[in-house]
Amino acid sequence: MNLLHRRVRPDAFDYSRRWSLRTVFAFGCVFLYAPIVVLVVFSFNDSRRGGNVIWKGFTTKYYAKAFGNEELMLAFANSLTIALVSTVFAVLLGTLTAVLLWRFRFPFKPLVEGLVALPIVIPEICLGVALAIFFTQLGWMDTGGLPWPLNLSNITIAHITFCFPFAALVIRTRLQSFNLETEEAARDLGAGEWRVFMDVLLPHMRPGLVTAALLSFTLSLDDFVITFFTSGPNTVTFPVKIYSMVRFSVTPEINAASTVLIAITLVLTWLALRYQKTLNT
């Protein structure tokens, strides 16, 4: 912005350029990352006990411990797998639900709208217990003998169940800003049902899909309560493992493990973005 000359009005929607908003964004990031920075810094702390609050000295031994902890590594792998699979299905089911509610009129629609929102409201422990009883009644509980990744099926089903309403909500919100004239134009030009969906609706929905995927992934990756109740022997996930470790002491090993998980997720995302870019070019 040139202050000496005639003031150039910033572009109507160019909020990211405005310093007032950038400050808020920066403040938000500081707020979000402060505990993460503390977490990473204290993963190098040479303190075994005391909640890892007082800095005692620098060491990397807890990273060695974390990598040497086979169960922890398996727990990572399980959590990432469950999260990825759940995200895919949650976004799929969420899209179907969102379009269903957005486009169609049918008897008892308000009832269905209410029901679809229930998994968001239900306290996790309640749903966890309900699913545990449900799976036990079906005889599906003992999945420990199944090969990986089938032994994670119960947990994955549970995650999809509580993630897809979130996805549906977000996608539906996005759909509400869809300009119908675009669809009409497409039909006028001869596009069939499928083409309209793929070429007109889907691109508009894309930010909603991305948002839904991020949301589902986050919800699934860090879920403890529901996972705890639907897991059995040989199906340990990262949050469950961490909770049991923390019971005895908050050691830097836990911080180290978390930092490693962030690093892995970061790398995976970077790879995915790179891959997407090469697809687009």
Partner: protein
């Protein structure tokens, strides 16, 4: 047959914990579905950091039985989960009042003592407790107390009574209690001079009043991190498990642990076999191994809790056997009590009282 890629961590050979994740992953990629053999396996559900470093691998070495080792963090959670249906655990480690609960709920299988010759190692003090007469459903694993952790430089003398935490203004703002309703109310009753198992409506109401009055002096109802608050200097007195305080005593010499004159709460963690266990014989084999003299000594040496195994005790050194935080002095021990299960009806009243304390 495809080449199995071993995960990085398996290149470290010095860590011999068993049912390695990597091994399981590798095997399952190779074998047909469902072929992870159930014979020669036992599913062990234990607290974290509650076993010796090489205990399970030694067990596998000796018997050939592989151990699937899973962890839980809380008796309540374990009970709630098993109540919904046993997902396949063979050996679990409930605390004494939960053993009682599970016996009442028919959730435990009887242990065949004939398959456990090492039962002879157990100290006579633990062979016939009230919560499991004749030890038909459980065998002792570790025991300890709930008492008071304190900062020596912040008090004139080690706390002598539970009333210092529950009824006095002396340490206002420097007190941490636990967050488990039953334990806190039990010790409040002890402070009032009753037995911690004397659950009556009057005692409960009195304990509730005591807590409501004292609430302003309490810094925290700490969920498992009372010892951390003590170490960080946020509180000077903490009601805590002896093992937790022992851990922070290692970090800071200024911290001590004591059982007040009314006595503390005795707890005992036990090995049990839940109903629905798929590998009952292997479960017995594991329990028998854990009760062995050397195995017990290794475990005690690593996790530093009190062992009920007389044979193991003989193998331990003085630093362990003379440690008053692990083995309390006889006088205090006599007045300490094992908790009994209050009964479902009383559990409800306890919860209601606790909700009122927390909401007030």
């Amino acid at each position: 047959m495809q080449r199995i890629r071993r995960p990085l961590h398996l290149l470290r050979t010095d860590r011999r914990r068993f049912m390695q994740a990597g091994l399981a992953v590798g095997l399952s990629l190779k074998l047909p579905a469902g072929a992870l053999a159930q014979e020669g396996q036992v599913n062990f559900y234990n607290w974290d950091t509650y076993i010796g470093e090489d205990t399970l691998s030694s067990f596998t070495g000796e018997t050939g039985i592989e151990v699937q080792y899973d962890l839980f963090a809380d008796n309540n959670e374990m009970f709630a989960k098993l109540r919904s249906g046993n997902p396949g655990y063979d050996v679990i480690v409930p605390s004494n009042d939960y053993v009682e609960r599970m016996i009442l709920a028919d959730m435990l299988l009887e242990i065949d003592h004939d398959k456990i010759p090492n039962i002879a190692n157990i100290d006579p003090m633990f062979t016939d407790p009230a919560f499991d007469p004749g030890r038909r459903y459980s065998l002792p694993y570790m025991w300890g107390t709930i008492g008071i952790g304190y900062r020596k430089s912040a008090v004139d003398e080690p706390p002598t009574s539970w009333n210092d935490l529950f009824a006095s203004d002396k340490y206002a703002g420097r007190i941490a209690l636990m967050s488990e309703p039953t334990n806190v109310l039990q010790l409040a009753m002890k402070a009032a001079g009753h037995s911690l198992n004397d659950w009556s409506d009057e005692n409960l109401a009195a304990a509730e009043r005591m807590l409501l009055a004292q609430k302003k002096n309490i810094t925290a109802f700490a969920p498992d991190n009372g010892q951390d608050l003590l170490l960080a200097g946020e509180v000077d007195l903490a009601m805590e498990w002896n093992g937790d305080i022992l851990q922070v005593m290692e970090e800071d010499d200024d911290i001590g642990y004591v059982l007040p004159e009314e006595g503390g709460l005795l707890w005992e963690d036990c090995l049990s076999i839940p109903v629905g266990a798929p590998n009952i014989d292997n479960a017995h084999a594991l329990i028998n191994y854990l009760l062995g003299a050397q195995a017990g000594a290794d475990i005690a040496d690593f996790i530093y809790y009190a062992t009920p195994n007389a044979a193991s005790l003989e193998l331990m050194d003085e630093a362990y056997t003379d440690n008053p935080a692990i083995f309390p002095p006889a006088a205090a021990l006599e007045k300490s009590e094992l908790a009994i299960f209050p009964g479902q009806e009383m559990l409800r009243k306890i919860d209601e009282a606790w909700t009122r304390v927390k909401a007030g």
